[in-house]
């Protein structure tokens, strides 16, 4: 298993924990990650709403690089993932657009054929590696802890296009958590948005949306929340203090993790290697429990 | 068993009453077991004399369940059920019998819950009234005479003709085409009921044993002049005759009224 790794700018700019943990755990499961030379922004969301052809061009360009490497593309970020999936679709149904983009790409010696497959980390872990293999890699099971899973809507609710999991009833992240020994449970707000897409237009709304979800997670007795999306993580974890303020609820504290971080912990890796010190939500008590076994 | 458990009869028409009782069963809606149902094809079959008869035998109450208007398969002339019921109530009141012991309920065949509620509350109502004064082995003899007289009124040609024509009289007027209002008719009906009722009481008393006007007056608590008026009228009808004359007072006896 070998993928062209596309961390994406959000991850590279401020979600180091995700990249760090992904780079630690994936190779240990036999997933080889190859960095992409000359990759750029995927175009989403900055261009997608105001200048679609620029967005398509940027996405296609990154996909073309992966094609030139002869590898499938693994973006870490849900936003990038959707951006590639959507672009792929547009270029498939619109050959003229594809051609005009290819004209531009040819100038730097790239061609986009459309043969590249876009992988999602959930698919890589759940479908390619497999739950069993992950289970077998666990040395320090996360027993006795109940996690709310939050796969993130970009990955699963991509209207009509290929989605990585059942949009109404996503279960892959749950399966992956069970493989680590953790408890999971469906909850009503599971597929609810984190609110981050409103962050620029109405930051307060974002905080309220995320806050309501966290409140429910807390009320239902979860010990923490786990995600694979840097946007969602950013809101739930990085902005948790702000959420507390917006909700007027200082007791609203929910430990938030990337799945790759928990996977790493379960594999017995040192917390420092997994970027856990960058999590801003109160993860210490959970961390202690896991480390104590 | 402690306390008093009323015994009740329910008349049900086939298409609604019986159906709704079945539906209560099908829906497993529970109600107390004090009532026994009797199926009629239609409640218009219900002759007041039948109900008065079973009351005279000591049943504690009678419930009649018929179709709500618009719910009946026998749609036409459905109001006859109510006419007969009101006539019967009038007779019960005349006889001094608690008319709350009879009830007429309208239902759609789908109202199983309502049916059970009605049965329930009727049982409670009768329970509150206590046992019928005519139940048991020693019924109130005066009341028994009264209610038998009422039954006889209900079987009387004149009264039945009046009740049967009521609808037409109010709707189309009398044979001369003169309009008759419900109030006028009610007055006529009251007079007729009063008259027939006393007739029948006298007749039933005389059937037991012949008696003089004075004795009848004492026994029935009716002014002797009134009794005499009735006797005179009844002689003309061929219901009574003089059996013998004791002293100066004629002793009257009832004649078999030919069918």
């Amino acid at each position: 298993m070998k993928y062209a790794l596309f961390p994406g700018c959000t991850v590279q700019a401020d979600q180091f924990g995700y990249e760090a943990s992904a780079r630690e755990v994936l190779p240990r499961l036999g997933v080889e990650l190859v960095d992409m030379e000359g990759s750029s922004c995927c175009g989403f969301p900055a261009f997608s709403s105001i200048y679609p052809s620029a967005w398509f061009y940027l996405s296609a360009r990154n996909m073309a690089i992966a094609e030139s490497m002869g590898l499938d593309l693994l973006p870490l970020c849900n936003g990038c993932h959707l951006s590639f999936v959507e672009t792929k679709h547009h270029l498939e149904v619109n050959p003229r657009l594809k051609e005009s983009i290819n004209e531009n790409l040819r100038r730097e010696g790239l061609t986009y054929t459309g043969d590249v497959k876009i992988a999602h980390i959930l698919e890589v872990l759940h479908d390619a590696v497999g739950v069993e293999k992950i289970g077998a890699s666990v040395k320090r099971p996360i027993g006795g802890l109940k996690f709310a899973t939050h796969p993130g809507c970009h990955a699963i609710r991509s209207g009509g296009l290929d989605h990585t999991d059942d949009p109404e009833n996503p279960q892959k992240l749950d399966d992956l958590m069970r493989a680590l020994g953790a408890d999971v449970m469906d909850y009503p707000e599971k597929t609810d948005c984190c609110g981050s897409s409103l962050a620029i237009a109405s930051g307060k709304t974002t905080l309220m949306i995320a806050g309501e979800k966290l409140q429910s997670v807390k009320k239902l007795g979860f010990d923490g929340l786990v995600t694979v999306c840097p946007f969602c993580f950013k809101v739930f974890d990085n902005r948790q203090r702000a959420i507390q303020a917006a909700m007027g609820d200082r007791s609203l504290n929910v430990p938030v993790f990337y799945y790759t971080q928990l996977l790493g912990l379960a594999m017995g890796l040192e917390p420092e290697k997994l970027g856990l010190e960058l999590n801003l939500s109160p993860i210490d008590p959970i961390l202690e429990k896991i480390l104590e076994g | 068993m402690t306390g008093y458990e009323p015994r009740l009869i329910g008349f049900l028409c086939n298409c609604c009453g019986y159906a709704v009782a079945d539906l209560a069963g099908i829906s497993r809606i529970q109600y107390p077991p004090n009532i026994r149902f009797l199926r009629l094809m239609c409640c218009r079959r219900l002759d007041p004399s039948l109900v008065l008869g079973i009351l005279s035998e000591g049943i504690d109450g009678v419930m009649i369940t018929t179709c709500s208007l618009g719910g009946c398969n026998f749609i036409k002339n459905h109001e006859q059920v109510e006419k007969k019921f009101l006539f019967m109530k009038r007779l019960l009141e005349k006889a001094g019998f608690e008319s709350e012991r009879v009830t007429l309920e309208y239902l759609f065949a789908s109202e199983g819950r309502k049916f059970a509620d009605q049965v329930d509350s009727f049982i409670e109502r009768v329970r509150g009234l206590g046992p019928s004064p005519l139940s048991g082995d020693s019924p109130d003899q005066d009341l028994l005479l009264n209610i038998r007289a009422a039954k006889a009124v209900a079987e009387n040609y004149r009264m039945r003709a009046l009740v049967g024509k009521e609808e037409k009289l109010v709707k189309e007027g009398n044979v001369y085409g003169e309009p008759v209002t419900q109030e006028e008719l009610d007055t006529v009906m009251d007079d007729a009921v009063e008259n027939e009722y006393v007739h029948q009481k006298i007749r039933l008393t005389l059937l037991e044993e012949p008696a003089s006007v004075k004795k009848l007056s004492e026994k029935l608590g009716i002014d002797s002049k009134k009794v005499l008026e009735h006797i005179v009228a009844m002689r003309q009808l061929g219901w009574v005759d003089v059996k013998e004359i004791l002293g100066s007072s004629p002793i009257y006896t009832a004649l078999e009224v030919p069918e």
Binding site: Y187 | L23, A109, R113
Partner: protein
């Protein structure tokens, strides 16, 4: 040869068509693929708008039909071949065995009691289980056990002979073979009915994912006094009486989403929802019932009265809006229904104990096979296509073959019964209402 007619499908429409024909002295062959007649109506609790008990009014008809000297009922049967033409169809029917000699069987039930196999009972919408040898329901006509070969251990290679041994009269006959019956009939009436849309396709409502989201047919079994709960509306997750209930209308109907549901209105769901709501309110007056709808389609005699009764008298809440999603509280198994009230524009969340998805009526899956056998066309959805929806609305595309009931589109019981009589008339007179078809 006496005139005879083949009726395919033993639901209420097929039964009525058969009775109409037989009462006119015409010989009828009624072919039903189940081991009993009665169809979907036998599973229903009450009719609308008159709230009659379904099985109570259907059972006499089933019995009359089964006993009618002019009607031969072929249960467990399917039509496999139709040759010839109007006036002289040559039909082959395969009759699968019951594996029970009904003339010997005393209906003592010993075989059923002893049978070691339990499978979900389809008649009870899977809420209960039945044995591999079974009688589907107490009023089944014919009232006789039959062995479901698919789940029976004897046929599964296990060599089980428990029922044979249990039977005091030697009525179990494993050796019975399917037989093919050849019939000559002058015309054919198709009355194969409908099947219910599987709302699993609309993942947002969580059917089969959330215990307390059910279909109308499941609901009918739950409130039926003959059902698995004896008529108590208990919710599947915990057996508690459901007191907050919601109906979601147009599930799978009136859908213009690609690949989801059907675009047409199923025509009966508004009324059965109202009926079911009234049933709940009559049984549990303190319950809260909500109906989410797009349009209230109460278009026949007394239909609006039933709606008014539900809404104005019994306090059933009608909210105009099609919910976007149902979610489940994992601890209580209560459901949250998210919706927009389109009258006010407000977004709301309703918490309920039980949700009923008023699922669309679909053509039967096996219509495709049957249409091939009959040599007739189906419409774009898979309903039997009629020659001309106006003047020959009950005629299929092959002369002499007629339809009635839900096999050519959704309709209610009353309409199905009317059509059954109409089809019976056409099947005997061949009356055509258009001049071009009159011929002679």
């Amino acid at each position: 040869m006496d005139e005879s007619v083949l009726v395919i499908g033993g639901g209420v429409a097929g039964i009525q068509a058969s009775l109409d024909l037989a009462n006119r002295g015409i010989k009828v062959h009624l072919v039903e693929k189940a081991p009993f007649i009665g169809g979907v109506m036998a599973q229903l609790d009450k009719t609308f708008p008159t709230m009659n008990c379904c099985i109570c009014i259907l059972e006499p008809k089933m019995i009359e039909c089964y006993r009618h000297p002019k009607i031969t009922v072929h249960t467990l049967s399917e039509v496999t071949e139709v040759g010839g033409s109007k006036g002289n169809f040559k039909v082959k029917v395969i009759e699968r065995p019951r594996f029970v000699d009904t003339s010997r069987c005393t209906r003592c039930g010993a075989c059923i009691e002893k049978c070691p196999v339990t499978v979900p009972d389809e008649f009870q919408a899977g809420f209960e289980s039945r044995k591999a040898i079974y009688i589907p329901f107490p009023q089944a006509v014919p009232y006789a056990p039959s062995i479901d070969k698919g789940s029976c251990l004897h046929f599964g290679g296990g060599g089980c002979i428990v029922c044979e041994e249990a039977c005091p009269t030697g009525a179990i006959k494993y050796e019975q073979d399917p037989r093919t019956v050849s019939l000559n009939v002058s015309s054919i009436i198709v009355a194969t009915g409908f099947e219910q849309y599987d709302p699993k396709e609309m993942g947002e409502y969580g059917y089969k994912r959330y215990d307390n989201v059910i279909t109308p047919l499941e609901f009918e079994r739950l409130v039926s006094p003959y059902g698995p709960t004896g008529g108590e509306l208990t919710r599947p997750s915990d057996g508690k009486i459901a007191k907050r209930i919601a109906f979601i209308q147009c599930v799978g109907s009136r859908s213009h989403r690609p690949g989801i549901g059907v675009p047409y209105c199923s025509g009966i769901c508004c009324m059965y929802a109202a009926k079911e709501a009234v049933t709940i309110k009559e049984k549990y007056p303190d319950s809260e019932v909500t109906i989410f709808y797009i349009d209230i389609k109460a278009f026949s005699r007394d239909f609006q009265n039933l709606i008014n009764k539900a809404r104005d008298e019994m306090g059933v809440e009608y909210i105009r809006g099609k919910p976007g999603e149902i979610r489940e509280n994992p601890l209580t198994k209560d459901l949250y229904i998210w919706y927009e009230d389109t009258d006010t524009g407000e977004i709301g969340r309703k918490e309920v104990d039980l949700a009923i998805l008023s699922a669309a009526l679909l053509p039967r899956n096996e219509n495709t096979r049957l249409a091939q056998v009959l040599g007739v066309d189906l419409d774009e959805f898979g309903f039997f296509k009629v020659e001309d929806p106006f003047l020959s609305s009950l005629e299929t595309t092959r002369d002499g073959i007629y339809v009635c009931g839900c096999c050519h589109g959704p309709r209610d019981i009353s309409n199905s019964v009317v059509e059954a009589s109409a089809a019976a008339m056409k099947a005997t007179t061949g009356t055509r209402l258009t001049a071009e078809g009159s011929g002679g």
